[in-house]
């Protein structure tokens, strides 16, 4: 398939960065919506060993977790889009 051959030539670094970038974008949106609805201080009693962080800290951790999740999704998708090496 022609299209497929050309896509294969995208450098790996570019593939990873584009996945991370889109994930970053979506994580930012998710973080904004999530923390607009939920005050991290209210989560404290629900989660055992909740870190005694400030709200800013909780937002940052929340954002990084969202980013981890969205990035993992994108990275797995692009990984599975490429066939394994035929030996």
């Amino acid at each position: 398939m022609q299209v497929f051959d050309e896509v294969k030539e995208i450098p790996r670094a570019q593939r990873i960065i584009s996945a991370l970038w889109i994930a970053f974008f979506n994580a930012a949106v998710a973080t904004a919506v999530f923390f607009a609805l939920i005050d991290p201080m209210e989560l404290e009693p629900c989660i055992p060993h909740f870190p005694q962080a400030s709200r800013i800290g909780a937002y940052t951790i929340g954002f990084l977790l969202f980013w981890l999740l969205t990035a993992a999704t994108s990275l797995f998708t692009i990984t599975f889009l490429y066939p394994g090496k035929r030996s």
Binding site: E6, A36, D39, G57
Partner: protein, 470 residues
């Protein structure tokens, strides 16, 4: 032309674009431009960055004018305080921003990209610094080709120093939108920044440095979602930057005194200035391209060249596809009307919602454990929990009443209660009604919450009163 031939040509063009998207990048050295549109962009840069860097220093009634106080979960916008419950306004604002983008894109093409996008604006400033330290286009290219020397190192180090200082200041400004600027500044000076503040300052500063210093046009070409879908908003009446091929071709060099018609030439002298000034490194003479961010640098430089040659200006100009094809350009068209009306409607709705915003919130929850209780003397009791939100920026004292049933009694622990600014307080309330007054198994009741100290603050909420089968 044969449909198959056309299809094949289009496929070939698509492949070219695709190849270009994934090709190794060559550094672009944009030449400095002067002219009307360069002037407009400088104005836009100064105004927009002025707002960005200035706003945190501006006070409004003794309070930072724009402070998105995330630690305390409230946004201050010029005297208006918004709480998480007001999230809807933010969503509205974003929708309005999106529709404005659609509207102006359909009207005038990539105005946003050329003049207002942070990527353009910061890249412009970083380019100024680069030009100031390293010199003009030829000098910069020569410097980069030279092997490392003390001279080159000094120049590069000066540029890096300027870039890094500016980025650090940008990072500080960004964080001061979220953490009060004066306290933040004091903590910065005494090196007592919190870990999260330091992290975001570093992060935003680094992003500015990388995007404006190095990635530049690659952000527009590879990373920007808007650049990819803006063509959907284009039509034949959209303002685009275009080279007038009819007038310019065949291009070629000639003496200033020569008459191009006698030489069989068009007005384009093929000086390649338009290519040299382009921040995305394209040749506008090849037609409309997705890389073109509509900065109009090529218009400015070409006009300058045309003037020197004594030809009329506008060989490259803002125009529309219809105008190029010799047809009429329609400013008012269905697309513009639809976008315009949607935009206007949404702005009116937001304005109305903000103007009539009631800084008092009430939620009524029925007690889930029992439907009703008979409390003697023929009275039926229902228990509720009221969630009272004070979204004003000062505390208020409230009283709850209820109506909807005859001889309705409202019992609260205390006759009035105080809710501090931004707080949500749960108030248990019992309603009692004589069984004969109830009449049916269920009835609607309305809770009314009113501030004692400011009677205009009032809201109501409906709920249900349940009783036994009559």
């Amino acid at each position: 032309m044969d449909q198959k031939v056309m299809d094949r040509r289009r496929d070939a063009r698509d492949r070219e674009v695709e190849k270009a998207l994934y090709a190794r990048r060559e550094k672009i050295y944009p030449r400095e431009v002067h002219g009307l549109f360069a002037y407009l962009r400088i104005t836009a840069v100064v105004v927009l960055l002025g707002i960005f860097y200035g706003l945190p220093w501006l006070d409004w009634n003794g309070q930072q004018s724009v402070l998105l106080d995330m630690p305390n979960r409230k946004f201050h916008l010029f005297g208006l305080t918004l709480w998480p419950q007001d999230f809807l306004y933010l969503a509205f604002l974003l929708i309005i921003a999106a529709f404005s983008l659609f509207f102006f894109t359909a009207l005038a093409g990539r105005l946003w990209c050329g003049y207002a996008c942070p990527q353009t604006v910061w890249t412009e400033v970083f380019l100024w610094m680069e030009q100031w330290v390293e010199g003009d286009r030829n000098k910069r290219m020569k410097l980069d080709r030279e092997p490392m020397s003390w001279h080159k190192f000094r120049i590069k180090a000066t540029k890096q120093f300027l870039w890094l200082t500016f980025s650090a200041f940008t990072g500080f400004t960004f964080v001061s939108y979220f953490s009060p600027q004066d306290e933040l500044f004091q903590r910065l000076m005494s090196l007592q920044l919190g870990p999260w503040e330091s992290f975001w300052m570093f992060f935003y500063g680094l992003a500015t440095y990388g995007n404006a210093g190095y990635l530049r046009e690659q952000v527009c070409k590879y990373m920007c979602p808007y650049a990819r879908f803006q063509s959907a908003m284009f039509d034949k009446d959209t303002l685009i930057i275009s080279y007038d091929a009819k007038r310019g071709e065949p291009r070629g060099p000639r003496k200033r005194s020569a008459n191009p018609r006698e030489l069989g030439l068009g007005d384009c002298i093929d000086c390649t200035m338009c290519v040299q000034v382009c921040p995305t490194g394209i040749d506008i003479r090849d037609g409309l391209q997705y890389e073109c961010i509509g900065c109009a640098a090529c218009i400015d430089i070409c006009d300058e060249v045309m003037e020197k040659m004594g030809y009329p200006k506008g060989l490259i100009r803002y125009t529309t596809q219809n105008a190029i094809e010799g047809k009429q350009t329609h400013l008012i068209r269905p697309r513009m009307i639809v976008y315009g009306l949607l935009l206007l409607g949404m702005m009116v709705a937001l304005g109305y919602a903000v103007a009539t915003r009631n800084p008092i919130g009430l939620d009524v929850l029925r007690d889930r454990n029992s439907l009703f209780r008979e409390v003697g003397a023929g009275l039926i009791e229902n228990v509720y929990t009221l969630k009272v939100m004070n979204m004003d920026d000062r505390p208020h004292e409230y009283r709850v009443t209820a109506e909807g049933l005859p001889e309705l009694q409202v019992l609260t622990d205390r006759p009035t209660f105080t809710v501090r600014s931004g707080e949500v307080v749960e108030v248990p309330v019992r309603l009692r009604v004589p069984e004969d007054a109830l009449g049916s198994r269920r009835a609607d009741v309305t809770f009314i919450l009113q501030s004692v100290d400011a009677p205009e603050l009032q809201t109501s909420e409906e709920s249900r009163f349940l009783g036994p089968m009559p």
